[in-house]
């Protein structure tokens, strides 16, 4: 069994009872070591099943492709039923079925064109980010799965699914370790400041805590600069307390100086924060670029549908097509 790369911290053998009791309490923030948290999240996702697993998978894959696929499901399976069995429609059965069949054809064309281009674009953007070519979404310390997958498959086309997954995780861990080493060198003289370690979500949470403490009125009286300083100070205090506990455990288990351990924790969290931010920027960018790409593909998919639909219908429903042509010809003559 290939095990995940987690810290050497001793496992606190808490009973399931303790876990359950504590689950609904608010868990204190950000004390987990980045690698531990990452490994645990992977394992938890793997061990879920049924609907929770589906929701987690959906959550990991939100974006334009999901929008296209959900729309396609509606177009292919729901729309034809509602067109064919619409009690308000006065058209004959053959005509409604003829019209209803346009929907699945349209869905297939939309998926083929829009998903195709979005997937290619996303893979390309993942490649750029993983190679460090995007300033704001530099993911050299956490290369994207799609990028690693394509590289590994080129190197070893016959690799099994399990080995591929293991290889991806190993390379991601290696890249993360390299980033840690580089950051350590960059911060040789003094570690990162506490301010650098505050994540956006933590800043927001601390701000609302401060508002609760001071009251809305009092908070509003503060100048923007003062309020910002207070939030940063408060968040930094929380981080300090949290990281020092973590560092003292590491210092004890590995018999190193507390300062050295604290520096390690700070650097790992800094790299983790940078990865998280870069991933968020990349995901948001893919979402908006995806909408643009789908819009650009619309004229192509529309023309393709107009070309394909009559040809397919001629083969599936030749009689209805002939009837439709006759009806159109009559209409033209009348008008």
């Amino acid at each position: 069994m290939k095990t995940s790369n987690v810290t050497n911290k001793p496992f606190i053998s808490a009973t399931n009872q303790t876990f359950s009791k504590n689950l609904n309490k608010k868990v204190s923030f950000g004390c987990s070591k980045y690698t531990t948290s990452r490994a645990l999240k992977k394992e938890i996702s793997k061990n879920l099943d049924g609907l929770p697993k589906t929701l987690v998978n959906l959550g990991k894959n939100t974006g334009e492709i999901m929008s296209i696929l959900v729309t396609a499901v509606g177009t292919a399976f729901v729309a034809p039923l509602f067109i064919a069995f619409n009690p308000l429609s006065k058209e004959d059965k053959e005509t409604t079925i003829y019209s209803a069949l346009r929907q699945p054809i349209s869905a297939v064309i939309a998926v083929a064109t829009q998903v195709g281009i979005n997937k290619k674009f996303n893979n390309w953007i993942d490649k750029l980010a993983s190679e460090g070519k995007l300033d704001k979404a530099d993911l050299t310390s956490q290369p994207q799965k799609t990028y690693l997958k394509s590289i590994i498959k080129k190197e070893n086309p016959k690799i099994t699914k399990e080995d591929l997954r293991y290889e991806i995780e190993t390379r991601q861990d290696k890249a993360f370790d390299t980033a840690i080493k580089k950051t350590k060198e960059a911060y040789k003289n003094g570690g990162p400041t506490w301010e650098e370690l505050i994540r956006p979500k933590m800043y927001k949470d601390t701000k609302s805590e401060l508002i609760k403490e001071l009251g809305q009125e009092e908070f509003k009286k503060l100048s923007a600069k003062d309020a910002n300083n207070k939030i940063i100070q408060k968040a930094a205090d929380k981080l300090k307390k949290c990281f020092e506990t973590e560092a003292s455990e590491i210092a004890k288990s590995r018999k190193i100086q507390l300062e050295e351990a604290l520096q390690e924790v700070k650097i790992e969290n800094l790299v983790g924060t940078q990865i998280k931010n870069a991933q968020t920027v990349l995901k948001n960018f893919k979402n908006y670029a995806g909408i643009g790409l789908s819009l650009a593909m619309l004229p192509i998919s529309c023309s393709l549908l107009n070309w394909a639909y009559p040809r397919i219908m001629e083969k599936i429903m030749p009689e209805a097509t002939a009837k439709k042509h006759l009806k159109e010809a009559n209409n033209e003559n009348i008008s």
Binding site: F11, L55, V70, K136
Partner: protein
């Protein structure tokens, strides 16, 4: 004016992507602090595509020579009203769903799907397989909560998407569109008959009358 090839020298696609990512609007949209909720982006994506599609249909109907000229405006007005109905229904159902989905998940979905029992099962499985060993109780719970948050993100995206693209677009709109189309048809035919009688009397349809028909079609559409 000739564009000097020097401008494009060393201007690789990755540099182009950087320029886009560093642009003001993208900086605002992709900022981790200011990113819009994924559910709203999903609905916005579907609505934008439908709005553009509606524009194509309307312009195509107006230029379609297979439709008799006097009926083109009517067909285009129908396409336009159908498109607007599509957009309005998706916004009316999708956006409130996107806003309420988080609350719905916390109150009704999470207690059932991400319950203490699920947590126990997952923990037992991890312990049994031994795939992940050195972690504390708090770290496990924090990771479980984070996984739950990913599940919540999935729920908050899929629910408004189903609401907008399946319920609104494919169930509600077809039912509203059919009576709307017959209403337009009746109004248009009534107008056409009146104009035809006038035309027979005057032997020719004047330019002014033609304009009147178009005006009536659009006023019928606008009043709905």
């Amino acid at each position: 004016m000739k564009i000097s090839p020097k401008i494009f020298k060393n201007y690789t696609p990755s540099k182009a992507m950087n320029t886009i990512l560093n642009s003001r609007p993208m900086e605002y949209l992709t900022n981790p602090n200011a990113g819009a909720a994924a559910g709203i982006i999903g609905v916005a994506s579907c609505v934008t595509k439908d709005a553009v599609n509606c524009y194509y249909y309307v312009t195509q109907s107006l230029k379609n020579k297979r439709i008799p000229e006097e009926k083109r405006k009517f067909v285009a007005a129908l396409d336009l009203s159908n498109g607007l109905l599509n957009v309005a229904a998706q916004l009316a159902i999708g956006i409130p769903m996107a806003k309420k989905s988080g609350e719905l998940f916390d109150k009704h979905v999470a207690p059932k799907l991400f319950s203490d029992k699920t947590l126990e099962n997952v923990l037992n499985n991890i312990k049994k397989t031994g795939s992940c060993k050195n972690f504390t109780a708090e770290e496990f719970m924090r990771a479980f909560k984070k996984t739950k948050t990913v599940g919540k993100a999935g729920f908050c995206v899929i629910l408004p998407l189903i609401g907008a693209t399946i319920i609104a677009k494919r169930m509600v709109v077809p039912f509203l569109a059919t009576p709307m189309a017959s209403f337009f048809k009746k109004r248009f035919e009534a107008n056409e008959n009146t104009t035809k009688t006038d035309a027979q009397q005057n032997d020719v349809i004047s330019f002014k009358q033609n304009k009147k028909i178009k005006k009536e079609v659009f006023s019928a559409f606008a009043s709905n």
